[in-house]
Symmetry: C2
Subunit: 302 residues, 2 copies
């Protein structure tokens, strides 16, 4: 038996700009990483040829999993709802498309990222985990009692779309005064009267102590704290993972966030929820997709 | 074999003012209902004697379940955290206290009520359910993908403690500007400048069209709508059950609530979440406790 025949899983993450394909050992060790652009109408054919290429070189995989934006259909064979991006994604049956002898499970990308972090990242062994991704928008996913929440339409864990100010205007999915609009980079220009457009620049000025930057950052931490303490009371995590571009500020974010949560977090018997940043970065979705394929082999209803 | 020997389950709901004990057939048919006060230091002994009485008259039960306020301990043998009410409840091991040959599962009362409604009430056969109880305070519970959420500290589903206005004052568990404070009866006096103290009187004046009442009611519906659309995006239910005293207003509540949700609810492919009121009233917790005992027999890890 050669190394090439060692068992492995394939995880595919379909991003808005890049497609990531990982070949991983059963313990999550990375064997191959393929990254290509996701532009153009032939992105799905490109995924097929990357998977075929892995199979040709490494032998048949144990299983393949897909992480994608949008809402996965019940049964998880396709994405049912994803207007706008990746044309043709809606309704595409991946088991058929990849001519896989086994069902290919399809997960929402944030849900997959959480599964990846629990498998090989910042929340290994945890059973109650909240992931919040802070980037252009705010997304996330929830694991509760060891169960990754999907929900009736696959929408569970869209934690950016909770109200922090019921008097505020509706966001992209119509939530009034949402966490996403209070914190996501897409409103940073408006929130700063045009002064900032990305968080790296803002965080640098926070470290320098510039009053406008500090004021914006304090408000961001406050609104994020209100959202997180609310979510804590609904899904009761033991750890909150912060991912996405804004979380790269690290302690510059975690310190004021933690201070803002101190007076607001419900801490039964003094127990507080741990805050941490993600470990797997933008590979988390592909890790989670592979993990889902692995779980699916063990228990097809998972 | 006599009727008295027919198999049955016992569900106990420990309320702040009353203790309800139900004997139920395996299909949920009510066989006996015992209700006593929960005041005084000997409330736990009273539960024991009610259970002993059922066992003496009906023969041994298949199993016993307990619903109680507070946070259930991991493993569900006791309530770990419940400051203030029912002295002695914290840490009381019910399997031991009731001298039961089988483990007696203990559930948070709102989580039990949701399980009861899914078993025999307004959400039979549903797998994604949000329960929101609207009374003195606002509570609730969540079932997602058929799984009743407990969480790390047993606190999952405390949906009254989510922010609807991050600028507002902290509530009883420190959540700023919470749904509970915006909607619960305990703030109605303050919200109405002393004019109203219970929802029945308020709802009656809403039907009569009194401007102050209509204004208070519209604001209540708006804040509740903001909370519900937020929760929809986090736990993705197919149905929302409204329980508690305020929900007894029925259509007087559901109509303006539904109107307030119309512009704010995310409805992928036009799909909206069903709104309904609970069916089992204040017996839901005891039903759910019995159901949990039944599930526990089939699968001890449930």
């Amino acid at each position: 038996m050669t190394t090439a025949a060692a068992p492995y899983l394939i995880g595919v993450d379909l991003g808005g700009t890049r497609i990531k394909v990982l070949a991983l050992s059963e313990d999550g060790t990375e064997r191959e990483r393929l990254v290509v652009g996701s532009d153009g109408p032939d992105w799905a054919a490109r995924v097929r040829s990357l998977v075929d290429d892995l199979h040709a070189r490494l032998g048949p995989s144990l299983g393949i999993g897909i992480a994608a934006p949008g809402l996965a259909a019940p049964g998880g064979r396709c994405i049912a709802h994803m207007p706008g991006r990746l044309p043709g994604l809606e309704g595409l049956d991946w088991t058929t498309h990849l001519a896989s002898p086994r069902p290919v499970p399809v997960l929402n990308d944030a849900q997959a990222a959480l599964l990846g972090e629990v498998w090989c990242g910042a929340a290994v062994g945890r059973r109650n985990v909240l992931l919040v991704t802070l980037g252009t928008g705010v997304g996330g996913a929830v694991m509760c009692d060891g169960h990754l929440l999907r929900g009736h339409l696959g929408r569970a864990g869209h934690v950016g779309h909770i109200t922090v100010d019921a008097s505020g205007p509706p966001d992209i999915v119509r939530t009034p005064g949402s966490l996403e609009d209070a914190v996501g980079n897409h409103t940073l220009g408006a929130r700063s009267a045009g002064r900032y457009h990305d968080t790296a620049a803002l965080a640098a000025d926070v470290i320098r102590g510039l009053p406008l930057a500090v004021d914006l950052w304090t408000r961001l931490a406050r609104d994020l704290a209100a959202g997180l303490v609310s979510l804590i009371n609904v899904v009761d995590p033991e750890i909150i993972l912060l991912g996405g571009g804004i979380s790269q500020a690290g302690d510059t974010l975690l310190r004021p966030l933690s201070l803002a949560m101190d007076p607001w977090e419900w801490r039964p018997a003094g127990r507080r929820v741990q805050l941490a940043t993600t470990h797997l970065g933008d590979l988390a979705g592909a890790y989670g997709a592979a993990r889902q394929a692995q779980l699916h082999i063990a228990s097809p209803s998972s």
